[in-house]
Symmetry: C2
Subunit: 405 residues, 2 copies
């Protein structure tokens, strides 16, 4: 079977037509690029999803308002300072940063978004921001996606970008994007920033619906609602440069667009888990045959967020006791006399019976892998879901005890 989606080698936020980007050194962080700009060379619709944390950073407050109007075409991002908990002055700084960027590249002020990531509680160094924006304007290019992806990194060990092509309504459409975020994400607070671009033509309201669906299948499977950083941001820009007709939900192709957008979001989300702070494992927690889909998600999240489970993964310990224990407190319906637990295809717990000793050698192989799947079959219904997580290592403690967020 030929896939509907063609992944683009080294693709990213400038793979779609009409998008420029760059990464420059504004001097906010030492010895590295720390400011990115992403801009459509023509008018664009946009949609955004932001942190549900009641303490939202200044740029999030501003972007939420602007993205809701659906007409932004660019974003300027700085690392090194989150501009969170900085009061009215911090909000004014965010407005000014966006205004400077818009003025410098010559677009209406309200079409520019702004993001910040880094330490909470420090004011933006506005002179450096202003100087950086001038550099950024000159550096913008149609192949600047990689530089932009690098400039938005904080504790990430590598830049994260992907892009794919898909034929929609007879036209080749490209969807790509970049993101940063390397905390274990949930239950933690590492800021997740993600910018997706497409040359498809989609109205703002429909774009928002597609983004919500995409996030549900990707970022919402690695992070728990209500358990987010002050700065989390997910934005998509659609500039129509591919030349196709405007996609609407009434057309069959809209589902394909949403699916493609989900694929891009999922690929980016996976990169965040893989690059989890200090992570040595990539663990898929799948819950099947739950009483409901909601129960399955609840149970999967509880396991994926359990520090005891995560430390066991780091120790390559197939500790199913911690798995069933987390399911037990998740709020999901569970009966340990009906539950089965697998590490990849090795059954470790079967309805009150523990796997026999012959499974041990096989289990050691499973746990030695960088990636494995824990499957919990609750045998209470047809609900299913999965959550992706990383392990909890010495390096996680090291990174987070030494880094001031």
């Amino acid at each position: 079977m030929i896939s509907k989606f063609k992944w683009i080698d080294n693709g990213g936020s400038t793979s779609a037509k009409g998008f420029k980007a760059c990464g420059v050194a504004a001097g906010i962080k030492a010895n590295r690029t720390d400011m990115a700009m992403l801009l459509s060379d023509r008018a664009s619709t946009c949609a955004g999803l932001f942190t549900s944390n009641r303490v939202a950073a200044a740029p999030v407050v501003l972007d939420r308002e602007r993205a809701a109007k659906g007409k932004c075409r660019g974003v300027v991002v700085n690392a090194g300072c989150a501009n969170a908990c900085t009061g009215q002055k911090g909000f004014a700084d965010a407005v000014e940063m966006a205004r400077l960027a818009a003025e410098t590249v010559g677009i209406p002020e309200e079409e520019m978004l702004v993001s910040s990531t880094g330490t909470i509680g420090r004011r933006l160094p506005m002179q450096r921001i202003a100087d950086g924006i001038k550099l950024a304007k000159d550096a913008l290019s149609y192949d600047g996606g990689a530089a932009a992806a690098r400039a938005i990194m904080t504790t990430d060990t590598k830049p994260k970008e992907v892009a794919l092509k898909v034929k929609i309504g007879g036209v080749d459409v490209t969807i790509g994007g970049m993101c940063k975020g390397a905390g274990m994400i949930c239950p933690n607070l590492a800021t997740m920033l993600c910018y997706i671009t497409t040359d498809a033509a989609v109205g703002a309201k429909d774009l928002r619906a597609a983004l919500k669906a995409a996030a549900d299948n990707s970022f919402n499977r690695i992070t728990v609602d209500g358990d987010q950083s002050t700065n989390d941001t997910l934005v998509v820009f659609a500039n129509g440069a591919a030349g196709g007709k405007v996609l609407t939900p009434a057309q069959d192709d809209f589902a394909l667009f949403t699916e493609a957008l989900s694929e891009v979001a999922k690929a980016l989300a996976m990169k965040i888990v893989e690059d989890g702070e200090g992570a040595t494992k990539f663990v898929t927690v799948a819950v099947e045959k739950a009483a409901s889909d909601e129960d399955a998600l609840r149970a999967a999240r509880a396991v994926a967020n359990s520090p005891l489970f995560k430390t066991a993964c780091f120790g390559a310990d197939p500790n199913w006791g911690r798995v069933i224990c987390a399911v037990g407190y998740s709020g999901a319906q569970v009966d340990d006399m009906k539950t089965e637990i697998y590490f990849d295809d090795v059954c470790v717990y079967d309805k009150g019976e523990v796997a026999d000793a012959t499974a041990q050698a096989k289990l050691a192989e499973v746990m030695a892998q960088r990636a494995f799947t824990v499957t919990v079959k609750l045998n209470l219904g047809e609900g299913a879901d999965a959550v992706y997580t990383s392990d909890f290592s010495y390096d996680y403690v090291k990174i987070n005890s030494e880094y001031t967020t």
Copy 2:
């Protein structure tokens, strides 16, 4: 002011009149004692609170039923095996373990409780349990509390026991107890076992009410409901050996009894936090001026449970950004423009303004202490509460990646 309560040096579960205890080596764990017995030499009322985890271990299922009848006088406890997720056979093992203990010491079967702590998913070694119970019967003594406290340890680094005397209704009453539990507790799953004894005379129903109040002021401030191990158990026995009248809520003295019971429970709970796995810090998270008491507790728990906050404490980093971020996702009402945050008495965040640099030297002193308090003033109402937690260290990861629960 002379305190109403007189703490007893080296007091514990056998400080109250009429209670015997012991710790013996049943051979379940290598080279140490691993079985404890605690027994009133006369009839006793009892009350128990147990894990809210939907996957409850066999002994918990049995004890919940027996304690509800209010007439138990003893408990037999083993370390090294949790007897959880062991099916019907495991339940039969728990029943048999209690029956053997009751028969050996000569009390009715239904007056004996049973607890297990250790690895999940393994059957109890019943021959060793039976042999251990015989040893335990011979070892029971009126000063066996210390040996019992040592025998129930798992990853604890020290035994935990306290006792106090209080004059109630003209009679000297003693309340004492022992506990084990050294996980970071919440959001983790280390089993907490706690046994409190008193020679006061209290009816079972009233004893249960007093225990609930005591737990609310102690263990429920270090652990989150619904986020508990399969085996968590808190039991109090009251045998009336002090010779006083039966205490009832209608008397003024009942409040004093409840207060004394709370003091004992709180002192034991504090010992668990202090002995947190790999802990180097004891942190009190106090939330004041919240919109409600519920909000204050919600916010305090979110901060106390945040791995990012805990790792910052380990790094002696006064990272208030992670504090306000956790409050933000706690569900509590919060307005960062009204919030103040203190580390001990040093203000680090004041309604949108960050503390000035002169606070830094003072802050370093605060963070260098083994124990400090983080206070969050939300300035939205009169709600207040506090939660106690430990930090998140390399040793936490080491202990939990190498230990099979």
